[in-house]
Subunit: 381 residues, 4 copies
């Protein structure tokens, strides 16, 4: 594979590398790692890339890599540039016959996301969106239990993603991460909701297998001088009538990266926290709550949870492993397609361009709702 | 003191008795414990009341007790009847010169609450409303830290109260508690929000010392056939511009009585859960989270937390002790007034008729908001 | 009832009063609250005792109370003096026909404890020893599950009681509690093991229904200048061959009162912590761990757990309620005996003179073992 | 690098591969993956090894690899065979000039371990022992705080490692892992203590920087028919006079892999659990307990903790990352040595042959102590 963006000091590029290295299935062969030529070269060298496959821009990479002999050529690219620079390289990659892994949000605008979807369909290639949290085994277990009807009809969803790192005007203090994420030109029309609210919305829809149909948003700029929302609360309605709340904040002082979710149905409920991701609490009417653990050998642990664990119960796996699961399933799907066999449902269990479109629409719709005096805004694509 | 309501099998009457017995300051001398004469008599006997002070209705109790010699006469009454039967005995008690403890919600309607306030002011007597959760020492510590500016300006409040006991149509299965609490004639115009949402709203205002000024509510009847809301999500705005979410549910299957709150300011935040009430998590920008514990001997534990603990750190105190703190402070206030001295701020730290009025207005306003197509409803009294 | 010891500023006397007040079954009628006459009188007044029943010593109290008419006379005395002053008033009380509640350790020496047992048997009266921790409902649930064979044969017991309050030479800093508890003349031949190790040993035997038969102790004085052990680790053997460890420390800096226990059998295990006493973790081979909660309405919660809860699940009960359970069961037993009916097993579930003897022998044997070069010392009475 | 052992279906071989792959610093170039030629070949292929570097035994691998040109040759071997087959390939590797990573316990006997040490010293090569738990960042933080005197003199150490997977006679039910680990011919003279007790002992000495000097062990075979101990409790004395307890069990039914440790000094204490490895609880006399978190940006987080985290606070890292840290530090040390620079203390922070010798002596001494009637056995090497 080849990487676009993700040079030295980029946060998420390094995370992707830990993730795809872990299982030994994927090898990084080339990169266009920065728009700054010096950084691009230095970064490539420090990653042990051959000099002739360290590119200075993605166009060059596409052109040269697509002409390589098949056994040397990369199978896919990973795009880890800031949001505004996702669309063009993704289209180019698909046009040159490469599958694509793309960091979320998928594009800068909903319109771009729709064009990308069309291109994916035309080319028959595979696009994977790294909504990391759906890669955790106990999130997959949660989804499996809901799907199997363990909780009956779902009535209530509480999803939240509190962070505290933007409690001050960090973007003016030389924090590069903060600078681009709070800049509408680089990040898009929403800050907090685009960056982490979309993760929360994806997690809720992923686990419940229910689409959000209406929302009522209250987005806030809590730190004076900031250009984009850094906090938001959203009431949700799901297609089956379930009610929900989505809370995301980057000014929850003292919080780290606390995405968590609770889902309640007629017969029971579930609770999951990224803080302790190998545990899924499962609650019942009139029976004790159960602590389900990743890697355990209960008879009823789902195949989706099992196939996304590397170790037996009690060996904590974390964020990088969840990220690696996204890559692992994507890679197995590609290998399966390359060998003309049908990927299993477990292999196909990674976010796609459809999830990307829903994420972009979510951003559009919460921003619109927040400005509206009406209570409910339809969550249309 | 004397009790109105709270005969055998009543849930909350027994709780009040544990609470006022605990500290040995309050003695139950009489009661009108049920409108059913048999139950009234039996209940009185089993509580070791003298036969001549077991009354069959509150009017009789008022009349006879008010004529007792001062050294035998009760100082106050506790009213633990269902919501619709709070107002009349409370007015009667004040009219006969008795101080009043009343279970929340204070009355059936906002209008009654306002009349009660007027009566309290006219008589100069003391009314105490048992919003239990404000009796926990670490809730008081939270309030003290916010008041002292430890967290700077408050930006965000998340308060929730999930229960699961009404996940089925329990009111049709012979559960007396469920029957009256879901009956609009006995409970009022809201079920879940009136019963537990008001506790959550009180807790949020108590800790932050900020008034809720606007709200946007989504109340739901999740169990088919139920007459009142059993679930609700409410967006909040506070007087200083802070944003909030209040979630309350009685269909969160598998949850017990999980009231909890998180508050975030510019410099840090706090987290408290009734589940483990002796712990207050205090979070900071760039410093480790601290685990504050009730009864501990830290130099900076507030006098409000200290004076509401009975044991040293590590001896868990619970719901009954929190309840007892409400009574304890109320009793100390009465004793102080009776001896013509000024109660301390710590003694006066119990909910009053003002809190009752805010609670009734909260019920009115969330119900109105839930029916409205407008996003925001003013939280006026 | 009447109280011996427990004047103003005594820690445990106040605890006993919270505990026996709580349920409204027990009334304090008299007391010999201090050997200091001023304190005795002041304490009696502040507890609203009638002046003629405030005694200056227990002998006077015994004599006068035993001559009262039956309907005014106390039924039992509670002895909350320091350890060295338990035996004499307990013997006197039994001799005068009063039942006895006694703070642990039961006496100063094993020999005294044996004499007390003989006296109890002779008089047919009831003696209750306040090993508080066996009063928690989830401890009783643990015992019930072990007894019912849920875990199969017990193999392993880990019990611990860490405190940190004696990490410095507190006894020289004016701490009265520390002063007598570290003084061999008042406390006995062991400090930490006598004070809290005995609680841990009792808890282990109570839950498992197995007797400790051998022990290997390492007692330490960790703070220079202290006269008695402030720390200890003990290997245990139980009568059925199970192995165990008992750890107790008063120099575990930063710990509060963290008694906890884990028990493992062939089929599963259990875990309980006083810190969060309403929860019992129950673990299984190849099934998820369960979180059992006090007051919950699971079909299989034992009658011993149910009858020792005052509130439904989710209303945390704590140390004072556990203490109150000891008194409650003792009072129900007395009432049952007074009415010539047979107390139920649930009523009889409080520690007795037998537990007191085992505790005194435990102190003797760990002290002997700690001095011995032999690995194992028999735990004989 | 090249791997010896670790073919298909071997548990720990796969773990090592996840670990050394993660950071992109180490490439697996060859292997002698099984003594079964078919498995060796299949395993090599599935790991994408070139066919000519898939060896059928370690002798062949040593011989051929040592003759490779320097730029193709491996720098080190990893030995992940069962315990009895560690020594010979390790000696061979050192003899052929390769550095060595070796799974613990280092050898089958203490004598072998001493010979290995001599060889390491003679060759000047580097040997790394994978005591994984010392690779966690918050374990390193714990060690740093103890070393910096944050807690004053250490008085008490509680370390435990409960597992439940051998609660039944699993070794007779076709579990290959259980079979060799309970077989004295493959595992050595101790089961539970050799397998996991050594990890606990290492963790205690690593964090406290104190040597265990005496021990008193009670090893048990709890499952009838088992050939080696599956449970043990050990009293410890440390060189500075601190007391300790080490508990390890493989019959703690329902436990997973619960290694945890608590250490107490004059001024405070610490608590760490593998279950939630990114958290270190730090306890103080008279100040609130602090929750230290891996990856956080507190000013006082040690450089040893920082340099062993890949992600910011709130992105949980786990067992594989801890394992990867061992490899990462080892690799940085090798790279540093190859470039003739001095490795930093942070790089050198991985277990060595010295730790291996202490582990082998621990096994010998606990087994001897368990058989002895004397209380204390010297922990000599």
């Amino acid at each position: 594979m080849g990487m676009i963006g993700g040079g030295k000091d980029a946060f998420i590029g390094a995370i992707h590398r830990y993730a795809f290295n872990m299982d030994g299935l994927i090898e990084m062969l080339c990169g266009a790692l920065s728009i700054n030529p010096e950084i691009a070269k230095d970064s490539g060298k420090s990653l042990f890339l051959p000099e002739d496959r360290i590119y200075l821009n993605y166009e060059e990479m596409m052109e040269k890599e697509s002409k390589m002999p098949e056994d040397k050529r990369i199978d896919f690219v990973t795009i880890v540039t800031p949001n505004f620079a996702h669309f063009a390289p993704a289209m180019a990659a698909l046009d040159h016959g490469f599958n694509v892994v793309i960091e979320k949000p998928i594009t800068f605008t909903l319109d771009e996301a729709k064009k990308l979807k069309k291109k994916v369909e035309e080319t028959g290639l595979t696009l994977c969106l790294t909504h990391t949290y759906s890669g955790y085994p106990m999130v997959k277990q949660a989804k499996a239990m809901v799907r199997d009807g363990a909780f009956g009809k779902i009535r209530k969803v509480w999803v939240e993603y509190p962070q505290g790192w933007l409690s001050k005007l960090t973007e003016r203090e030389g924090n590069a991460q903060a600078a681009w994420r709070t800049d509408p030109k680089k990040s898009g029309k929403s800050g907090c909701m685009g960056d982490i609210g979309t993760h929360a919305a994806h997690l809720a829809e992923y686990i419940t297998d229910l689409k959000i149909t209406q929302l009522c948003a209250d987005l806030n700029v809590m730190v004076e001088g900031r250009a984009l929302d850094d906090d938001g609360n959203v009431l949700l309605k799901f297609e089956n009538g379930a009610a929900g709340v989505l809370m995301a904040s980057q000014v929850a002082a003292g919080e780290e990266n606390g995405i968590s979710i609770r889902v309640y149905g007629e017969k029971g409920g579930l609770e999951w926290h990224q803080h302790e991701p190998n545990t899924l609490l499962v609650k019942w009417l009139d029976q004790p709550t159960q602590i389900l653990r990743a890697g355990a050998n209960y008879p009823n642990l789902s195949s989706f949870a099992r196939s996304n664990c590397r170790t037996p119960g009690g060996h904590p796996e974390g964020y990088l492993e969840a990220f690696a699961n996204i890559y692992h399933n994507f890679a197995l799907t590609l290998m399966s397609k390359l060998s003309n066999s049908q990927p299993t449902p477990e292999m196909l269990d990674f976010p796609t361009v459809e999830d990307g479109i829903r994420g972009m629409a979510f951003i559009d719709n919460v921003v619109e709702s927040s400005k509206s005096e009406k209570k409910w805004t339809q969550h249309t694509l």
